[in-house]
Symmetry: C2
Subunit: 264 residues, 2 copies
């Protein structure tokens, strides 16, 4: 037993930017893209000396394999409200990710409010289906760390019964009960099965080209409600847009990624 959570241990970064991609946060041996963003995001956050990621964008250049990496962070501008950071994660002279982000303090900022959407309509946490580690040919080792509970209406794809609607919704928590902070939100938006698994499309991995997370609030305690939707698949590309809501029904993050689908 240790006092440090699995997520905190797996995103540990030394002051010089050296870090380790920890085995067990992967799918089929490749580290989850959200985990990689959280790892790099923690290095950037530390270097920025601000408490919260506000918006982070990552380009994925090579798969992340377990082992040592270096994250070089540069302060582009340290402003009053934000510190803007540029960063690269690399290993053995080879870039794994290139990032840009703004970091600041999300606490206690009040403005005009508008909510033009609502949390996904989900059965209670216990009535949703755990995302198993073994899924067909995929080995989702990540599922031993994170407790993703999928809307039962969205998991028919596992039996070849697709909804035809590119939506994937469910709950998120850490298995070890770690509270969800703004850093963890960087991971969560890339931790669900792709929404396109519910379309009648060629099966396979959906590699991410670009992934952006906007952190909109500090989450209240408890599991989060998450929903991901793909609106456009064309010319080998797809978008996936995510919304993450906390237990009080407040939006805490929005995400979008540009992913790849096989060319015909």
């Amino acid at each position: 037993m240790t006092d440090i959570s699995e997520f905190d241990a797996a995103t540990a970064v030394a002051p010089d930017g050296s870090a380790v991609i920890i085995d067990g946060w992967d799918i089929n041996g490749n580290a989850n893209g959200g985990y990689l963003m959280a790892l790099a995001g923690r290095a950037m956050r530390d270097a920025s000396d601000r408490p919260d990621p506000i918006t982070v964008t990552a380009h994925y250049l090579a798969p992340g394999k377990p082992g040592p990496v270096q994250i070089d962070s540069t302060i582009v501008k340290a402003g009053r409200r934000f510190a803007t950071m540029s960063a690269q994660m690399h290993t053995g002279g080879k870039p794994i990710m290139q990032l840009i982000g703004a970091f600041g303090d999300l606490a206690d900022a009040k403005s005009f409010e508008h909510v033009g959407s609502a949390p996904p309509d989900l059965p209670p946490f216990e009535q949703c289906l755990p995302r198993d580690r073994a899924q067909g040919t995929a080995d989702v080792a990540l599922s031993d760390r994170i407790d993703v509970r999928l809307n039962p209406e969205h998991v028919g794809y596992l039996r070849g019964e697709r909804t035809g609607d590119a939506e994937m919704a469910g709950w998120f928590a850490f298995h070890d009960g770690r509270p969800i902070d703004t850093l963890a939100l960087l991971m969560i938006c890339d931790a669900f099965p792709p929404a396109v698994f519910n379309l009648d499309m060629p099966a396979g991995w959906v590699p991410t080209v670009e992934y952006t997370v906007h952190v909109r609030a500090v989450p209240a305690p408890g599991p989060l409600m998450c929903v991901f939707r793909t609106h456009f698949v064309s010319s080998g590309f797809l978008n996936e847009d995510g919304e993450v809501w906390d237990s009080t029904g407040r939006l805490v993050a929005q995400s979008r990624q540009l992913g790849l689908t096989p060319l015909l």
Copy 2:
């Protein structure tokens, strides 16, 4: 008379990355953020030696004023399908924008297709309202270059009659008839009045923190149909999501920006 279009002249970049922010692409003296992305995007595209921006993200660090700037572009990775670029626009030692982008070739890529949305329902180009240069206290000099025609149902905000729905739609063309290519799409997604002008909110400028464009196809000839929507305003931040459709009804770009609203 010259043979070069206004947009091509305004986005000219020397091989060493030196360029000029041209007067007349501004609102109240600050260069339009979309124009700045197109200018930097052209420098990045040239340095990448690929024909099309695929996804570009910009962080805005200081207003762009007319005059000379330097755009430093770095090839992070030149891969088979994409070249990933990092760039900074700066002047006098001060950063104006920090960018990251992937460049490639959008032509002739065929894949599984899915379209989960449709172009905005717009009256014909001629029946939509030109976005005038003079708008209340704003001097939209940009409107002398670009021909934005707004859905008449969305322009009541100019008379204080807001729809209450954070949506702004209309047509886009260049006044001088320049064809719209993938580079111009980088500008178009930031060239409309903010969608939140149709909410009952404090008036004022909506500065952009982060702006990402996904270019999804090479546009067919003719004006483009554009729609922008804001779903979430909270804690001083808002999102604005854009879709741009060509004359054949094909989605050619998606955008999202994180903007600022006044704190209370």
